[in-house]
Symmetry: C2
Subunit: 333 residues, 2 copies
């Protein structure tokens, strides 16, 4: 049910019946390693291309989430998935393997919460009993497509981010036990004129701000309503910008309750510059680490704000700035 | 509300309050020219790149549809859009211009009906009062991205299709007058192992069959329920294949009531080989020509089955076959 201009509240509070997170070898060395269901030791995942390797991650995340929910794929009514690859091939080919009715989505790194919001909406409205929301990214596949050949070894500035090799999936259900989805806010594009693809966090921070402002206004909630507000993958640079923007715009989220998935996934590792990014970042951290903390009773209410930089190499080469977006989903234990 | 495994019926019958179709110079020479709201004489649309030109088409289609519905863009709750460009930049940048809360979707040439189905679902469930569903394609931008440089003048086989330069948009509303959306069926991926990107119609025909079979079964409708069954863009080749497949699979749609958007848009022009294709094909033919015929009382009930070939140049180069999908939307006068 719509509330305000761009938010939904879900009176039935759809359940996240299960979720799964799959990671690669670099993620296995990070501080959240224990929160992954499976960690691959090989960046190729036994495939002959990075693109096919990404597909393995996504299929494994979907299979795992469905199995953990004690369901079969035949019981899932719809699958919502997308990824960073051109024409979202990771999602398309995974949907072929899973043979679940498929709605392709694209929101770059905001895809995870776009999918979870729509999944909750479909379940809450009776359009489905079980919906799978999933997304993935692969460091080498993304580098190859968006930036330089990895063999070239191009230097990057400290504002750059490291694309996560990982996939996350969640099964949203009408009934059952598990964390419940209360509400969602769908973002508008925010573009402050930044055009540096090596500073996505800086470009995306204002989109996260806009969605947070709207979320609290639409739902008429106090700014300290959530135990935890999590942004998708702003990294250290974007986290620091948003931490300044919030009080300046009178959004008084207690800053000790604000974290970013791009900072959590690799901790203080300087090799990742500003932090993690990619569709798999917010998805694995939320569906692995954060929902794990929620189940352990350490978080009661959280708002996950997945941010996306909706550029392409072509739009960048043609001198365009970066259109950014953020979608927020409120989850309660 | 869900009916069967993968269909929705919409008890409130959301209204297509208005729709718009914008085309390019080649479409202006076709038999459906009069059904477009605007036809551009220049393939560049006054821009300095084909990608930017496509954006003009999409923005014009959205603006026109909103204006024809006597609404302002501030009244539209959500925009669902996607296109063929990498990272769906036409949709992203149009959503930036329009500043409407944005849900990015991708279904290749099935995007039009994926968007219309989700728009109807959001309106029917009370998640929105007005939703904009839109998509676009541009012949030269698509050729450049998917195939050869146009300057190269590569020869094509007679099974190839011509990407439509055009955009279509529809405003779906809770109330008002206009054609009404009764139901929708969300497709599964069908992949029969075809891998020739110059024979999309052949690859996609089985996906259209699967969705048609499911639609009639889920909704328990007789096969002659619709005045007109329209496929997205199978072209002559795919149309002929599906016309054979249907009776063989005991789907007895009267074949004189079955047409294809890819055949309608350019008529018998041999320059387009098997027919039109691209996100803009089904969108402009449905939102321009077919809804026009419905308003003129010539069609009462139609089922639009938009087909999509969910490949990418990379998946093709890596030897993959083409995963195909079809989404169906039932519209009644």
């Amino acid at each position: 049910m719509r509330q305000g201009h761009q938010s939904w509240v879900f009176p039935s509070k759809p359940v996240i019946a299960a979720s799964a997170a799959i990671g690669g070898p670099f993620e296995a060395k990070g501080p959240l390693a224990e929160d992954f269901d499976t960690l691959h030791g090989d960046l190729m995942m036994g495939q002959d291309s990075w693109e096919k390797a990404e597909r393995v991650l996504l299929e494994e995340a979907c299979d795992k989430a469905i199995a953990k929910a004690n369901l079969t794929k035949e019981q899932i009514h719809f699958m919502l998935a997308g990824d960073l690859m051109n024409q979202t091939i990771s999602a398309n080919f995974s949907a072929r393997t899973l043979a679940i009715p498929f709605l392709g989505i694209f929101g770059a790194c905001s895809t995870s919460m776009e999918g979870l919001a729509l999944a909750a909406q479909l379940v809450d409205s009776g359009a489905a009993d079980y919906v799978l929301a999933a997304t993935s990214s692969h460091n080498a596949a993304a580098e190859k497509q968006y930036r330089y050949p990895t063999e070239y070894g191009g230097q990057k500035p400290p504002t750059a981010q490291w694309t996560v090799t990982g996939a996350g999936a969640a099964v949203v259900a009408k009934e059952g036990s598990g964390p419940r989805i209360q509400a969602a806010t769908i973002g508008k594009i925010v573009d402050m004129g930044l055009s540096d693809p090596f500073n996505m966090g800086g470009a995306m921070a204002p989109a996260a701000l806009a969605t947070l402002e709207t979320h609290f206004r639409d739902l008429q909630l106090p700014h300290d309503h959530y135990d935890l507000v999590v942004t998708g993958d702003l990294g250290k640079v974007g986290h620091s910008i948003l931490s300044e923007l919030l009080p300046n715009h009178n959004v008084h989220i207690p800053l000790d309750r604000y974290v970013d998935c791009g900072m959590l996934i690799y901790g203080d590792n300087p090799q990742v510059w500003s932090g993690g990014s990619g569709c798999g970042c917010c998805a694995t951290v939320t569906y692995g680490h954060l929902l794990g903390k929620m189940k352990a009773g350490k978080i009661k209410r959280m708002l996950v704000v997945a941010t996306g930089a909706l550029l392409s190499p072509i739009s960048y080469q043609q001198g365009e700035s970066i259109p950014c977006i953020a979608h927020a989903v409120a989850i309660e234990a």
